[in-house]
Amino acid sequence: MTWRAALERQRSLLDFALLALWRRRGKNLSLVLVYGLTVFAIASVVLLAGALRAEAAAVLAGGPDVVVQQLSAGRPALVAAEAVARLGAIRGVSRAAGRRWAAYADPVSHATFTVLAPEGFEGRPGEVELGAGAAAAMRWKPGEKVGLLGEDGRWHFLEVRRLLGEETALVSTDLVLLAGEDFERLFALPPDRFTDVALTVRNPRELTTVARAAVGALPGGRAVTRPEMARTYEALFDWRSGLASVVLLGAVLTFALVAWDKAAGLPADERRELGVLKAIGWETGDVLAAKLWEGVVISVAAFLLGVLAAYLQLFLAPAPLLAPVLRGWSVLSPPLRLAPSVSPLELATLFFLTVVPYTLATVVPVWRAASTDPDAVMRS
């Protein structure tokens, strides 16, 4: 048989399989829908996790090389200026900068802001720059005065200088930037105390060595290197974390249930159909091939529908189904305007998980029925 004839034969078998599927269209369409929804759930998590990981890796690459924290009785404590100087003197450290930032629970909106006094704050004392989410939560606009409740129990009013760009919301939505003096007044802190220390290291290969030296220079301290920070976001939606494992387990159980239902046996009408095909002279191989096509069409359709719907949900709409999950109990949450970053390996895994077990499960009972006597099959 030439390859053209073989192709035509397979096409005829595919035609037969499609007609058979169409005869039971109600059942098959609902199967594709449920199967597609399962793929959609798992693909949504896979695509969201991939996009967030890519965003974190690209955006946070320019962060501090090492961050050193002081601990006191297991809780983060303030670092003294002389400790910052000690850290700066470590061999390999080109710069040690005390960072001043704090979590501020706003009594009006009940949102938690990150109040940060950056080194090169571009505004004057008495001014603030706000992240898009913080400004929206409090309806603060540039030029207006905003009130922040200080730790001295008094309200401190600062003028909104400008809002940080919405395109940076994923890192800046809850930020309140102000001058060092205002930070000290708001949190009643002396000027020589810092939240933690950011180290710049000359040689990236020395990060761990410098981190160890930093802990030696600041007993009771804790040093986190940039690769360790990056690993935190690589673990986002890790399969061992709660939500991802629940979705994966649900999907695997659904795939198993559908495959088991197929493999357990054929309905009477399909058995009769098989018997008739065998009786009129179809070979077992042809029957199997036609059924294989049915399985492939159903599972590939479900895979494509599920993955495309997941893409539309995540990247065309701002993830209406998953955004509330990410939001949790947060009052402020950045809008999820992510760019897709699809891992071919994860997509291939999902494809094989969707298509292969179902297709194989379709063939098993057909092979059992097709290899028995047609008369027995039709009478059973």
């Binding site: 096409r11 595919l14 035609d15 499609l18 967030l52 890519a54 965003e55 690209a58 955006v59 946070l60 690459a61 962060g63 501090p64 924290q69 297991g74 809780r75 949102a111 938690t112 990150t114 940060l116 950056p118 940080l164 919301a169 994923l170 890192v171 800046s172 939505t173 809850d174 930037l177 933690d196 950011a198 761990t208 981190a211 160890r212 804790r222 040093a223 986190v224 290197t225 360790e228 920070m229 935190t232 976001y233 673990a235 890790d238 061992r240 974390s241 069409v297 494509l304 495309l308 990247f315 065309l316 990410l326 949790g328 109990w329 947060s330 009052v331 950045p334 305007r337 760019a339 897709p340």
Partner: protein, 98 residues
């Protein structure tokens, strides 16, 4: 005129699916990820930021990279980690230097 074969209809459906996939790829390009990320990366470098503002519900979930495994249990000794974002990420690995 011979009737349209079902496999031809399937071919059309496959073509539509391929167009939809191509549409997704084109759409991904229009999102201008590198430009948007460059703005955020510049802000991260200028302010020395360490974290994404994904989970602002608690200070240790806002600054995941700097949180330690003890953080959720500071409320009281037998407290469970009870924020929803705890179900989305594994705990940060203990730093090599502590």
């Amino acid at each position: 005129m011979s009737p349209v074969r079902p496999s031809s209809r399937l071919g059309l459906a496959a073509l539509a699916a391929a167009l939809a996939v191509a549409g997704c790829l084109l759409h991904a390009r229009t999102l201008r990820a590198p430009e948007r990320r460059a703005a955020s990366a510049a802000l991260v470098a200028r302010l020395g930021l360490t974290d994404l503002a994904l989970f602002t519900e608690a200070s240790y979930t806002r600054h995941l990279a700097l949180a330690d495994r003890l953080a959720p249990f500071l409320d009281h000794p037998q407290a469970r980690e009870h924020f929803p974002s705890g179900a989305l990420t594994a705990p940060p690995a203990p730093p090599e230097a502590r």
